[in-house]
Symmetry: C2
DNA sequence: ACGTTTTCAGGAAACGTTTCCAAGAACGTA
DNA sequence: TACGTTCTTGGAAACGTTTCCTGAAAACGT
């Protein structure tokens, strides 16, 4: 349906030549040849010479260290500005005793997916408060790609690492941590020495939601799950299975479809379930896209008001559909914030030798209608 | 409505102590004092000594430069691995002739917003192909914050910069570019010497959509616009105004609401319009959230099937609502990809002295129903 | 007024790498 | 065999900074 009624509109493509104003700037040094404009950048040494002070003094001023005569501070600041001096953090961190680069890295599943990107933003905000920048990359759930990213990041000597681990890289993360770079894992639990984690309470959130469906009278509850390689997917299934077991109900294999990784897959599976005999009276979709896919199938069959649906993980405008989609919502921002604080704590050095800490953030059930539909008699 | 029926579920908070397995690894160097474990990292010099070759040779091997005896290559690679040597890109780029850090930076409005994050992903993919990493930051439409970010990035000597400019930082970007760092601006047009841009065809996209509404018979078409400081918001308004002018229709001030920056603001404004006399028969919402807000107001009034609505910028599940929301969709991935290619081109050095290039990517109208509602007689 | 401590400033070494350069080995040619 | 070339190799300098250390001057106590 989305691919219908499309039209392409060509752009106007205005071409702007650019002015090319040449402004006066740069060292304009004393002895060097003035021949070609080689654009060597202004260094501390240039500032020192120009200001008539020592190199060490410039360094002290730039870093705001105490114990420099106010007059010199003024002169250095002044000439630095005049010469257009730009501090080089790269060289700085190389020499600096703590080797800090004021940069941390973030390995996400996909910077463009809402969960990842909201988490990213939370990390950015926490880091910004300490003037730390964030390098981000997408692993796409591929352990090799994750390894490459971690590698590339550590080669750049980032101060710390926050990873949403695929689960097959524990040794590498352990090595990185042991080599001196703090590591925090987010969203998925791993058990690595001194690697903190922060995860969402997937199991209990799912458990409680399924229990609700049962309380409404549902017995045939379908389960749609994400790739089984993902820790969260397994946890959510565990919640579903737990709630069924708790009620003395055996899990019906035909109602359980794990290892789905697209809305389309979920739609197809759900359509199949609805068409077959003895269809489910409720569906639990354990991930965003799966929820959307399942709902699409329900709408296609015109059954969205008869079959209950609960999704794991909220998404925009889920409340504007009719009926609204009830979800177990998680709080990616809180996950990111917590992970960042754990990491920054270790960076500050106090918690250096602490064993791994594991933080779990709770979920919240949001009732919007689709989860409150009773089974048809 | 979304805030209803919430319940908090406490986590189980499983505490896992962490095993503390000590594995054998590391330099285990020859002559140094073995006292405290000071964890100095393994350097090229260590590898050179251990392998019995010169420092320069190790460098050549690590960088895959030709002209080293196969035997030595083997020996160096071998000992590097054995010692757990990790190349230091920081030191490398300091000394390297081209000073490349293999890192580019991205200044977005907000890494968590869908447009920004999809663009981010496209940039990441293009950069990855050349083993380049991406630093990202959110300006939140604040020129000061944008300046801070650009500053922090250039201090880290990134090779290039892609910016969604707020519009008040032209001088700084010009300075950065002149200092030798290629800059590309995305999503908003700026005219700075040798700074490429890639923008979406906001004006024409809007124009054509409004023209469609008119063709359906609509005359009173409301316009909801984003913050007027944003270039795209002004362009979209220009498209609206153009289409109205083209039809000889004067723009009615009461129907035009610019400078809105939240779904809630759009909802309130739309509700007001619907309640007042002579309400619009169609609404054009010039941004994502505004579209959602407007639709919310229409649903609140039960008018979503009587009043036409077209939004600028697509969003997930817009097609699952009833009626589906018609939009002028843009392609953030293509914007990102284009920007990245422009930047990488300049990085490769060929296009160094080329004047600014301006690329415009087209929009696409997607008909889903809400834009196809004729005016009520 | 003198000796001692404290403060401030600058020269030089170092961070881990790449690149320049010179020297030796290997090779082909006369 | 002698000689010019080419190919490999390693030592040393350099990248832009921070930090160590020394020395001079100022401040202090008696």
């Amino acid at each position: 349906m989305p691919g219908k009624g499309e039209e392409e509109m060509p752009g106007s493509g205005a071409e702007v030549p650019g002015e090319g104003v040449e402004r006066e700037a740069g060292p304009a040094g004393g002895s060097g040849p003035v021949g070609r404009s080689v654009r060597r950048s202004v260094t501390m040494r240039d500032v020192a010479r120009q200001a008539g002070v020592g190199l060490a003094t410039v360094s002290r001023v730039i870093n705001g260290k105490p114990g420099v005569a106010p007059e010199l501070v003024r002169r250095v600041t002044e000439t630095a500005r005049a010469l257009g001096y730009r501090h080089d953090v790269t060289a700085s961190s190389l020499r600096r005793a703590d080797r800090r680069t004021a940069t941390i890295a973030l390995v996400l599943e996909d910077v463009a997916n809402p969960f990842s990107s909201v988490l990213h933003r939370a990390v950015e905000d926490a880091a910004r408060a300490e003037d730390i920048l964030v390098l981000a990359g997408s692993s796409d759930e591929d352990p090799d790609r994750e390894r490459e990213l971690v590698d590339a990041f550590t080669m750049r000597r980032v101060d710390g690492l926050i990873v949403l681990p695929t689960g097959s890289t524990d040794e590498q993360l352990d090595a990185v941590r042991r080599q001196g770079t703090p590591v925090v894992c987010a969203d998925r639990l791993v058990e690595i020495d001194r690697v903190d984690t922060v995860t969402v309470d997937n199991r209990d959130g799912t458990w409680a939601a399924v229990r609700r469906l049962r309380a409404l009278g549902h017995r045939r509850i379908a389960f749609l799950g994400d790739l089984d390689a993902i820790w969260t997917a397994r946890q959510r299934y565990a919640g579903y299975a737990g709630a069924q077991a708790e009620a003395g109900e055996a899990v019906e294999d035909r109602l359980v479809h794990r290892d789905l990784h697209s809305a389309e897959a979920a739609r197809a599976v759900t359509a199949g379930l609805l068409a077959a005999g003895d269809p489910p009276t409720a569906v639990f979709a354990a991930q965003n896209l799966l929820t959307i896919g399942a709902r699409r199938a329900l709408q296609d069959a015109g059954r969205q008001d008869q079959v209950a649906l609960i999704g794991f993980d909220d998404f925009p405008v889920a409340d504007m559909l009719a009926p609204g989609i009830s979800v177990v919502s998680q709080d990616p921002a809180r996950v990111g914030r917590t992970a960042a604080h754990l990491l920054l704590g270790r960076l500050r050095g106090g918690d250096d030798d602490l064993p791994a800490r594991h933080s779990v953030v709770p979920t919240r059930y949001i009732a919007r209608g689709s989860g409150e539909i009773p089974p048809e008699r």
